[in-house]
Amino acid sequence: MHEFSLAESLLKVALEEAEKHGASRILRIRVRAGKLMGVVPELLDFAVKSLSEGTIAEGAVLELEEVEFKGHCRNCGAHFSVEDFWEVCPRCGSDEIDISGGNEFDLIGLEIEEGEIEDGNKGCKEDP
């Protein structure tokens, strides 16, 4: 159950990005998560819902994209994507495969509504 701390970081980053773009509301948050992060989608969803209350992300839809592991066959050298740890090489059937990746936890997109009083100059205070 580490989804709450993940959701906390996720919302912080999403709100920062939304502010940069002068958003008045966040409608959708797109996230990419590797399998090593051990994210339970329903729990992350629940955590984001709870923690976003009272912010411009309240009610936003969370879109979670799971990234598969990358596999490399030590026997035949094939590269492929791996769904779980116990797969065999799809080319030669060997179970001698190296698995990498899975540490991703990235914000990859936001759908926002822009604010009414957007001056187009947000974040550029030094502009003449």
């Binding site: 912080k12 990005e17 996230v31 936001l110």
Partner: protein
């Protein structure tokens, strides 16, 4: 409006972990993060290796716990500095908490830091604390299927301890079933069969810890 961004969500905590790592490196402190289920025997294991190592190295411990100070008290009996972190319900230590704990330790006079993570096999593996090495602690009563069910701990660890081997006669524990997923995921993974009760296997594990410290020194 659709905004395309790619930002690492944990970038802030990754930075803190890197800062921790720098603080430890600058002072030549080697750090080990022990991860395992509640009751796997992490505290007993740490106490055992402190007893063996404290003649030769200056050791400190960061003790992660959901709410109690019991484990920290057990460690404190070994007379090494220990800082207790209560995560207040969170199932893992994070780099921020460890950074704060480091401020409480006499860093100038420490060679080895042991971090006992919160009793949980899954969540702690997702969080870099700035440690050198993660060690997975499993135990016989938990069953021979742990590596198969929790491959993530095998992927994350540099070494695995199978604790409580004195209980092998009392449990149906198939070593082949325990080892085969480890061998598949990490063929070179060192696995230490130990018993904190009888002391069996502890010396081999301590030797490995020392070899890891020496290897770092050689760099």
């Amino acid at each position: 409006m659709e905004i395309k961004v790619v930002r690492k969500i944990l970038e802030a905590s990754i930075r803190v972990a890197e800062a921790n790592r720098r603080i430890l490196k600058e002072r030549d402190i080697r750090s080990f993060n022990f991860i395992g289920s509640p009751g796997a025997g992490k505290t007993s294991l740490i106490v055992k290796i402190i007893e063996k190592l404290k003649k030769y190295y200056r050791i400190a411990v960061i003790e992660g716990d959901l709410a109690t100070v019991r484990d920290a008290e057990v460690i404190a009996k070994t007379n090494v500095p220990v800082v207790q972190i209560n995560t207040e319900g969170a199932c893992h230590l994070d780099a921020n908490l460890v950074g704060k704990a480091l401020e409480e330790l006499p860093l100038e006079s420490i060679d080895i830091l042991f971090i006992e993570n919160v009793g949980n096999l899954v969540c702690p593996t997702a969080f870099d604390l700035g440690e050198d090495i993660k060690i997975g602690v499993l135990s016989v009563p938990e069953g021979d299927d742990k590596p198969e069910k929790y491959p993530v701990i095998v992927k994350a660890s540099k070494g695995i301890v199978l604790n409580k081997i004195d209980m092998l006669p009392y449990f149906k524990f198939d070593k082949e079933r325990f080892y085969s997923p480890i061998r598949k995921l990490a063929p070179d993974m060192p696995v230490f069969e130990v018993s904190c009760e009888t002391g069996e296997g502890i010396d081999e594990f301590v030797d490995w810890i020392i070899s890891k410290i020496r290897k770092e020194e050689a760099r």
